[in-house]
């Protein structure tokens, strides 16, 4: 004898109630004379024998067999309530009797023997939550049950569509949400809730659509996160995940189907109490699925059917007296409550997703049937293409597109949504394109040609030339520009030095000009390599390691030959003679940005740079006039207080010609005396410089 199911075997052995009637279905009279423990072992052995199984299965009613098939398909991972709902929603008249029948024939038991049917106990919510234990080695394929299905409450007469669907287009909602993700506009708080700004952005988007949304945007976040379409980075910004592009390339109908299935599953988990609403939802879906001819279904008859099923499920009319429950109807919902629940489902999952359309019969009764999307979702029909739908698209030269008459789940609308911001969605959908939106779309795998193709094929007017050029420009810039965080710019003494160090890097560096190279390596690697080649890094956010210096003879010393800022200033004020740099009047004269060069020079030059050198440069750059007597006055240590005093006397801006340090300025000498008078008793000084030309 072998053990089959240790736990259950032990449970059966310890069960206090007599099991003889159950075992009798499987054991011969001789076997029933064995000890109880041995009877159990024989029962397990026989129950796993397909021939014997088939013999006992024949004794099952259709409803019990259908219930068993569902339980077998899910093995032990199903609760009693769920199994009943599932079987009922397949059209079978399953009831508590069917479950007691399975106990009585020894196929299935509630996990806890205390809940088993005794003929005296009532069915309760706790019973519904009980997991089911199936005798081993019985597969659902062994159980043959002919599905009866429902008698469809279909309409024979005529009905007319009476509602214009006034719900927002949910495909747009999905699209807009992902567009916000691609632009990194969705941020979460520490508690994983949307930040206030994100809420405003999402609400703003939603306001552009007509009608009310039936779900909160948090649902979308969870759905996308679970499907790996998005992820949340360490800064709590929602960013594209690994399935982002795949999801976006899915047809709008496919996207909606995935979301809808998720929504229904998440919203309607089997709850602690017996959930009639889950039963009604499943019945509704089953009816729509079975209605292959897509006839109008009477709403009222659907409600009657639900009511009938909800009553029947707790029926105990058949079954063995001591192996049955007394049943419990006290929780069965009223017709009104069924109607409300059904209406809520119709609105939340069917009308809002444009999966059904409503109609009214000649006698003013409500009826409904699937739309094309509904057929695609529930009956797995092909989704008809809307490419040739009766829409009118215009793209205007100011980068807005206007789309009217777009069919539901329109691919054109979806593509426009990838590349542009949807701004209005009433009679016409309005999309505004910007560099950021287009580049975000390109970055996430949609080439700009995809947009241009849709525009060219669908626009009622020619696409303006400036729009095409600008889109291509934006698209190409986006492709070219990729931000790598681990990129470093190296400057070398010359080409040969660059060449000799290039091989030290694992990636071939990109060369720029004669002396520069861009290296794509992580920072640590780069620092190690630099250490090996005795190079040191330049941080442009700091002052130069060695500043620029001007010697008395006009020689320019670039303290740090690898600091681009110093090199730039040097190139703008000097030229080389015999391998050295000297201030050059010619170079300075041709400098198109003298002011910028001088400001940068002041920032980068050393304190040792003489006032004479600075005045020479000012003259060379044309920022002050050359004085015939070579005399220049500098006001030094100009305090804010003195500034205020001087401002009262004249327009100080006109008097201060150019700075030579933070608090010293070359002045217009016609104001010399006036200034002198006003600063005589202060620490501010007027200095006379006699210029010595070094350029």
């Amino acid at each position: 004898m072998k053990n089959f199911n240790n736990k259950f075997q032990t449970q059966l052995l310890s069960v206090s109630r007599p099991m003889r009637k159950v075992l009798k279905k499987w054991l011969t009279p001789d076997e029933l004379k064995l000890s109880y423990a041995n009877q159990i072992l024989v029962y397990f052995e026989k129950a796993s024998n397909p021939v014997i199984q088939a013999r006992v299965l024949k004794k099952l009613s259709v409803e019990a067999a259908a219930l068993l098939k569902n339980i077998a398909a899910r093995k032990t991972n199903i609760s009693a309530g769920e199994a009943l709902i599932l079987t009922c929603s397949q059209g079978f008249n399953v009831s508590l009797s069917s479950l007691s029948e399975l106990h009585f024939l020894g196929f299935v038991f509630l996990e806890d023997p205390d809940f088993w049917p005794t003929g005296k106990n009532d069915w309760s919510d706790e019973h519904s939550l009980q997991k089911l234990v199936l005798i081993p080695d019985i597969g659902s394929e062994q159980i043959n049950v002919k599905r009866t299905g429902f008698d469809l409450p279909e309409l024979t007469g005529k009905a007319g569509i009476f509602t214009d669907n006034n719900f927002p287009k949910l495909e747009n909602e999905l699209n807009d949400f992902l567009n916000l993700v691609s632009r990194k506009e969705i941020k979460l708080t520490g508690q994983n809730k949307f930040t206030a700004r994100t809420c405003r952005i999402i609400d703003g988007k939603r306001e552009t659509q007509r009608g009310n949304f039936v779900f909160r945007p948090e649902k979308l976040l969870l759905f996308f996160k679970k499907s790996n379409v998005i992820m949340i980075d360490s800064n709590k910004v929602v960013v594209p995940g690994k399935n982002f592009l795949n999801f976006r390339k899915e047809q709008p109908a496919g996207q909606l189907k995935l979301f809808l299935n998720y929504l229904i599953k998440e919203d309607n988990k089997f709850s602690a109490s017996f959930d009639y609403s889950l039963l009604f939802l499943k019945i509704l879906i089953a009816l729509l699925r079975e209605n292959r001819e897509n006839k109008w279904l009477y709403f009222n008859k659907v409600i009657s059917l639900m009511q009938e099923k909800s009553k029947m499920i707790f029926s105990v009319q058949k079954g063995h007296k001591s192996w049955n429950w007394k049943g419990s109807l006290k929780n069965a919902p009223s017709r009104n409550s069924i109607k409300k629940t059904a209406q809520k489902f119709i609105e939340t999952y069917f009308l809002s997703f444009a999966a059904i359309e409503l109609g009214k019969t000649e006698s003013n009764s409500l009826c409904f049937r699937l739309t094309d999307f509904g057929k695609y979702w529930i009956q797995d029909n092909f989704m008809p293409a809307y490419e040739g739908a009766d829409h009118k698209l215009a793209i205007m030269p100011d980068f807005t597109a206007l789309l009217t008459g777009s069919g539901p789940l329109d691919k054109v609308s979806q593509t426009l949504g990838f590349f542009g911001k949807r701004e209005g969605d009433y009679n016409a959908s309005v999309f505004r394109f910007s560099r950021e939106c287009v580049q975000a779309a390109v970055h996430h795998g949609h080439p700009v040609t995809e947009l241009l193709e849709v525009l060219r094929e669908n626009c009622s007017y020619p696409v303006p030339e400036n729009v095409i050029k600008t889109f291509l420009d934006w698209g190409s810039a986006s492709v070219k520009t990729e931000l790598f965080c681990d990129v470093n710019l190296f400057s070398f003494k010359d080409e040969s030095e660059r060449e000799s160090y290039a091989r030290k890097f694992s990636h071939k560096p990109e060369y720029i000009g004669e002396r520069f190279a861009i290296v794509r390596e992580p920072e640590n690697t780069v620092l190690n390599i630099m250490k090996n080649i005795n190079a040191f890094p330049v941080d442009y956010s700091l002052s130069p390691v060695k500043p620029l210096e001007i010697k008395m003879d006009g020689e320019v010393i670039c303290g740090d030959n690898y600091d681009l800022r110093i090199i730039s200033v040097c190139n703008n004020i000097s030229e080389t003679k015999n391998g050295k740099y000297y201030l050059s009047e010619k170079v300075m004269k041709n400098n198109p940005f003298p002011k910028i060069t001088y400001e940068r020079f002041l920032k980068l030059s050393s304190d040792k740079t003489s006032l004479n050198s600075k005045i020479n440069i000012l003259i060379g750059l044309g920022l002050i006039d050359e004085q015939p007597d070579n005399e220049y006055y500098i006001i030094d240590n100009l305090t804010p207080k003195i500034k205020r005093e001087l401002k009262k006397l004249f327009n100080l801006r006109q008097v201060l010609l150019a700075p030579v340090s933070k608090s010293a300025f070359v002045i217009d000498k016609s104001f010399r005396d006036l200034i002198d008078e006003n600063i005589s008793k202060t620490e501010t000084k007027l200095i006379l410089i006699k210029l010595q030309k070094i350029i």
Binding site: D398, P464, N466, F593, I596
Partner: protein, 560 residues
């Protein structure tokens, strides 16, 4: 409502109008009465409904029912319910409060006692009322006529002002048939209509309001036509001295006024005559910036003005609104190319200057050849490699300047000058140093803020007389400079994407031209730079206005 109709009404108050639709013209004529044209690119125009646009319509006699009827008649799809509701709500408010004058007293009357209670208890209204005359009417002081209108418009109940105007001191002014310059002169039909819509036979329903005409549409002429109807001494306020002097020369040329009848009140000259021209700048001058005292406001009381003309009313400075508030008994005419104000004070213009009396889109004038056809081209030029490093390491402000002063723009300018050898060319820029370099290179005259008015007048005259072909101007050339023969404008740098600047600059070349009536507007920008990003805003503005806009990369097309 029918699918073949040209209008699409959106719930956010925008209205789209299909230009190619056979019903376009009829729909546009109706629509422009109660909606503001926002954008007019080639195929679909965008209008917007605003409270002021609806009140403008109701002030012209349209009712909410008529507005809705028009929308329903021309709409492709159903008119959104919220729009129907808002139109009714907003339009029906106009005329519920009326201002009249009897026995020399101003009377504010309401159409219901409830409304009278509601409004009279508003904290901003309380101090303006003298006494309650009946359940539905209150006396107010003359000096609060403007303030009452402004306050009530701001709280959503515009006042219908039927209190009439004072006549003002008489001035016998008439328009000439032959100008002093010898040319024949007559009003164009739309100018006649604009003046008549403003004057309305001299009754209290007219006499104040705004005429909207595009640059080059002859706003000065409309002003003169209005003066010839009102026939009283007139104060004309304008944006700058050059514009004032053009007003003066036009008045002398086209009316029977003599130069002695017209005076200039500006920073340079302060004279008063039956027709006085004054700048906004001098009006808002304050000797002490910390005090709220404007010494030149007394100009409004120096004569018994029968008409005040506000040129470029969209630029009207806030303090002038205040003084205008005290001038409600005088006729007021606002002239502008756009009602859109950057500061959003459209309601002030509506309540204090008056409702829109006439509007003519530029496309119409272009179609009738009253304006030149403008072709806008953006030429993108690369930054020389020597500048790239400087550009790359600078902050945004300097980046923009480096891109704006790109020395390679000179090559493009030379090519354009070659192409337009026979044309009158304006080169407009922002940076004086750049313009000075350019003037030196091209040996062309330059006008900047530092150029004396006398020199400017000489240069403008020479340019008008075809004696110089190229004129370089800084931003002083943006406003009200009438250079009718300029047919090419090249802008080489500008402020950060100002729409107003773009409109003004383009306006310089829109006067009708002999021959093909074609004007060219070039913008030279540095490719892939901040300047190009800002040029995008200009591009949007021009395309929204409906101008054709093309883009050329100079590197690909170094010859035009």
């Amino acid at each position: 409502m029918s699918n073949s109709n040209p209008l699409i009404v959106q719930s956010d108050r925008t209205i789209f109008l299909e230009v190619d639709n056979p019903l376009y013209e009829a729909a546009r004529n109706e629509l422009s009465k109660f909606a503001e044209l926002e954008k007019s690119p080639e195929h679909i125009h965008t209008y917007r409904l605003t409270p002021v646009s609806i009140w403008n319509a109701t002030a012209s006699g349209e009712s909410s029912g008529q507005i809705l009827e028009i929308l329903e008649k021309y709409s492709k799809f159903s008119v959104p319910e919220n729009i129907k509701h808002e139109i009714k709500e907003i339009a029906d408010r106009y005329g519920r409060i009326i201002l009249t004058k009897s026995d020399g007293k101003l009377n504010l009357s309401f159409d219901s006692a409830n409304l009278a209670i509601q409004i009279s208890r508003h904290p901003k209204v309380v101090p303006l009322l003298i006494e309650q005359v009946s359940d539905v009417s209150f006396l107010i002081e003359d000096k609060f006529r403007g303030e009452v209108k402004r306050v009530l418009t701001n709280i959503g109940f515009p006042v219908k002002d039927l209190a009439g105007y004072i006549k003002g001191a008489e001035l016998k002014i008439g328009l000439r048939d032959i100008c002093l310059s010898g040319e024949e002169f007559s009003l164009r039909n739309y100018q006649k209509d604009a003046a008549e819509n403003f004057y309305r036979g001299g009754g209290p329903e007219g006499g104040s309001g705004v005429v909207v005409l595009p640059c080059g549409g002859g706003k000065t002429i409309v002003g003169m036509a209005a003066m010839s109807k009102v026939k009283s001494q007139t104060l004309i306020l304008s944006a700058n001295i050059t514009a004032l002097r053009q007003w003066k020369s036009e008045l002398v040329d086209k009316t029977n006024l003599t130069p002695e009848d017209i005076a200039e009140y500006s920073g340079q000259i302060k004279e008063i005559a039956p027709v006085t021209l004054c700048t906004y700048q001098i009006l808002t001058y304050r000797p002490d910036k910390s005090e709220d005292f404007f010494p030149h406001f007394n100009i409004f009381h120096k004569k018994n003005w029968g008409l005040i003309i506000y040129d470029e009313v969209h630029l009207l400075p806030a303090p002038v609104f205040r003084i205008t508030s005290d001038l409600q008994a005088r006729r007021r005419l606002g002239l502008t190319a756009t009602l859109v104000r950057e500061d959003g004070k459209e309601k002030e213009v509506f309540s204090l200057v008056g409702p829109k009396r006439y509007d003519m889109p530029w496309k119409e004038l272009e179609a009738q050849s009253w304006l030149a056809k403008a072709e806008c081209t953006e030429i993108r030029v690369e930054l020389p490699s020597s500048e790239r490093l400087d550009y790359a390491i600078e902050g945004d402000r300097i980046k923009f300047r480096i891109a704006s002063e790109n020395p390679d723009k000179l090559v493009v300018i030379r090519e354009l000058l070659k192409k337009h050898k026979a044309d009158q060319i304006l080169i407009i820029g922002q940076y004086i140093s750049q313009l000075e370099r350019l003037a030196k290179e091209l040996k062309a005259p330059l006008i900047t803020g530092k150029t004396s008015q006398a020199n400017r007048d000489v240069l403008y005259k020479k340019f008008r007389g075809n004696k110089i072909k190229i004129l370089i101007v800084s931003k002083v050339g943006n406003f009200a400079v009438d250079l009718p023969d300029a047919n090419v404008a090249i802008q080489i740098s500008g402020t950060f994407g100002s729409r107003q600047e773009e409109a003004q600059r383009l306006g310089r070349i829109l006067r009708p031209k002999p021959g093909d009536n074609q004007a060219h507007f070039y913008t030279i920008v540095t490719h892939n730079s901040l300047e190009q990003d800002f040029a995008m805003k200009r591009q949007l503005f021009l395309t929204e206005q409906g101008y054709s806009y093309s883009i050329i990369n100079f590197a690909d097309n170094s010859k035009f």
